[in-house]
């Protein structure tokens, strides 16, 4: 299985500010009544984007200036809560290709990486700078350089960081581990043989 080498993501950015944005907010549980991930994109941030009558609430994703953004900016502890992969799936299906936040919840970070969505951390000040720049010019191209761990926009460059194992997986096109895990089968069976509780 050959995977894309994700060395950088270039596109317009949108800031969804706030800390502790949980996966229930990213995709409310009622939209998980499904047996495929198809169509989840339209429910992204549903309850904070939509009123009960289906009309739009004020939300960055409803702002026409930011339509088509592919880089999502946010605050601290992004993606906390449930392990539902429906959350990163909804983000990806909505059209996002990367997330930049102050930091990420553990399970969410792993789920994103496995889907090839780089999650980069940056300082609050730097996220504010990017946010101000895209607010001033929503059409501005933002480049998340995964390999170099930096974010470039306009004539500015700020530092980003992505955990070594995730960065390696993304830039070398091995973010979906299934191929490598399958290759390990003989070693898996050897390890399993030493654990009595695994006997058939």
């Amino acid at each position: 299985m050959s995977l894309e080498k994700i060395t950088q993501v270039t596109g317009r950015a949108v800031n969804v500010p706030g800390n502790d944005i949980d996966t229930d907010r990213i995709i409310p549980a009622r939209f998980m009544k499904c047996v495929t991930f198809d169509g989840l994109g339209e429910y992204l941030f549903f309850d904070v984007r939509k009123n009960a009558d289906g009309t739009d609430k004020p939300h960055p994703l409803n702002d026409p200036r930011f339509k088509g953004a592919t880089i999502l900016l946010s605050g601290a502890n992004f993606g906390c809560g449930s392990s539902r992969e429906h959350a990163p799936q909804a983000i990806q299906k909505y059209g996002f290709r990367a997330i930049v936040a102050e930091n990420f919840a553990e399970i969410f970070f792993g789920n994103c990486t496995t889907l090839g969505i780089p999650c980069a951390t940056a300082s609050r000040e730097d996220i504010a700078k990017i946010s101000a720049a895209v607010e001033a010019n929503p059409k501005l191209d933002v480049v998340l350089d995964v390999a170099k761990q930096e974010i470039r926009f306009g004539n500015q460059t700020v530092k980003a960081s992505i955990r070594d194992t995730a960065r390696d997986a993304l830039v070398n096109g091995r973010w979906d581990a299934i191929g490598e895990l399958l290759e390990g089968k003989p070693a898996v069976l050897q390890t399993a043989a030493k654990l009595p509780y695994l006997a058939a």
Binding site: D20, C80, S83, R84, A166, L181, V188, L198
Partner: protein, 476 residues
């Protein structure tokens, strides 16, 4: 060299290093349910793969099951499609399914321990963040996403980076009316909702030594609410006693060998911890959340925080956001807040001892007029035990609806939902915006006895006063 339980279990299950530096970790026990597994089976089919160890994979249905409708098809066609899909997948891939007809169905984190599938020194994965519950047995249990479910189905392994270990000692004696739920809400409040990121939490100290398995499960369950993907307690006699004689527990000679092996996984004295936190049991009070994450909790005696008194800009903003959503007044006592719904249940507090404790105190009292009160046993097994002890009857007489097993109103994927901005006193684990099924619904997390106190008074109350807890023997 002295090692922690986490390191020992990790080392015993580490298959090999992967190219990116992560470890291919063997997952001994894989638990699945209807919400996060169907797409994984789809991926498996697309890749033409089989389940490597169907005998180590166990399924149940919990999130979407109605608790007041026992016949199929379910009124909700989507829910009906999901249970049928799981049935089909289990049959096709040869996986044991604790379906409703088996009498063993329930919330996956209650079923595993109840059946004796959850054992010390093992690795467990499940597509649910509350998988940390199983750590109560000295297992290393991970909540995972759907692509990882595919990985575990196909290879019985997943790619993981090693976690650091933080030991949390809770020593002393809990005051009467203070429960395991209060201990974990206190820990999360103290260390923060992301304080555990990158860590496994090892819970220890005299309070945990004395805790029953059900109390340990309540604490481990909410590790993820503190950001820790894994939480565990070292196995001891309490663990072994709980497991003896359960359907999947080893028998005879194998039992003796298993206990010896399980004992050897406990953390060695003097082993290295990346961090140690000490908490005094006496400092923990009955705790209630007032906000929109589980770290926003206060003791029942405290007042709702005032954003104008906040030290940091961030804290001010988060208090303002939470109070605006919760429609609560800054500086007001939390005690006396009117409630609309009382929910007893969930993988946090849906076990026998939770209902037993409520029944002990609520006998002879009535749920306040206008309050909708539901009690949802965590599994069919819990329901049968409660019913054999007459607990269901006591709760019904008090005015609670006694329902069938499932996750129910913890996340409201079934018909049990808040309506509008109803405020719910809940024994569950998350108070996120919209968590209980209404986009404007509000949740206050607390112990089961505090839920019962709120139910009978119609407002957030100190269970110790309502039920004269000090007059009865302490629960712990």
């Amino acid at each position: 060299m002295a090692k922690s339980l986490f390191e020992k279990v990790w080392d015993a299950h580490a298959v090999r290093k992967l190219a990116n530096g992560q470890t291919q970790l063997l997952i001994g026990t894989h638990l699945i349910h209807e919400v996060t597994s169907p797409q994984a089976f789809g991926m498996l089919r697309d890749l033409g793969l089989k389940v490597l160890m169907p005998h180590r994979t166990f399924a149940t249905v919990d999130h979407i099951v109605p608790t007041d409708q026992l016949v199929e098809p379910f009124a909700d066609p989507l829910a009906d499609a999901m249970i049928k899909e799981l049935r089909k997948n289990c049959q096709e891939f040869g996986i044991t399914f604790f379906d409703r007809s088996t009498g063993k169905q329930g919330i996956v984190h209650i079923v595993g321990p109840e059946q004796g599938i959850t054992q010390p020194g093992t690795t467990i994965a499940c597509g649910d963040s509350h998988t940390s519950t199983h750590g109560a047995f000295g297992a290393i249990a991970f909540g995972i996403g759907t692509t990882q479910i595919r990985d575990v189905l196909a290879t019985q392994t997943m790619a993981l980076g090693k976690l650091k270990v933080r030991r949390i000692n809770v020593d002393g004696k809990l005051r009467p009316g203070v429960y395991a739920k209060d201990v974990i809400l206190h820990i999360i409040r103290t260390l923060g909702v992301n304080g555990g990121t990158g860590y496994a939490y090892e819970y220890a100290g005299s309070v945990f030594d004395r805790f029953s398995m059900e109390e340990r499960m309540t604490v481990c369950n909410m590790s993820i609410e503190g950001g820790a993907r894994v939480g565990y307690v070292n196995p001891d006699e309490t663990t072994f006693k709980y497991l003896e004689g359960r359907p999947y527990s080893p028998k005879g000679q194998a039992w003796t060998q298993a206990v010896a092996s399980w004992r050897s996984f406990a953390s060695d004295p003097g082993c290295h911890y990346d961090d140690v936190v000490n908490i005094r049991a006496e400092d923990i009070a009955p705790t209630v959340t007032w906000g929109i994450n589980p770290g926003q909790g206060i003791s029942i005696e405290e007042k709702i925080p005032d954003p104008s008194a906040a030290q940091a800009v961030d804290e001010k903003a988060s208090i303002e956001e939470a109070l605006a959503y919760m429609k609560l007044k800054p500086g007001a006592p939390i005690k006396g807040t009117k409630i609309d719904v009382a929910f007893l249940g969930s993988c946090t507090n849906g076990r026998l001892s939770d209902f037993q404790e409520v029944a002990k105190y609520i006998k002879g009292k009535k749920v306040a007029p206008g309050v909708k009160a539901i009690a949802v046993p965590g599994s069919q097994g819990v329901a049968v035990l409660c019913e054999s002890l007459g607990i269901d009857k006591v709760l019904r007489e008090a005015g609670f609806e006694w329902r069938a097993a499932g996750c129910s109103m913890c996340l409201a994927m079934n018909p049990d939902k808040l309506v509008g901005d109803q405020l719910c006193a809940s024994s569950s684990n998350r108070n996120f915006k919209g968590r209980q099924g209404s986009p404007t619904g509000r949740t206050l997390l607390m112990s089961p006895l505090m839920v019962a106190a709120a139910a009978v008074t119609g407002q957030v109350s100190d269970a110790r006063e309502v039920f004269h807890v000090r007059d009865l023997p302490a629960a712990v």
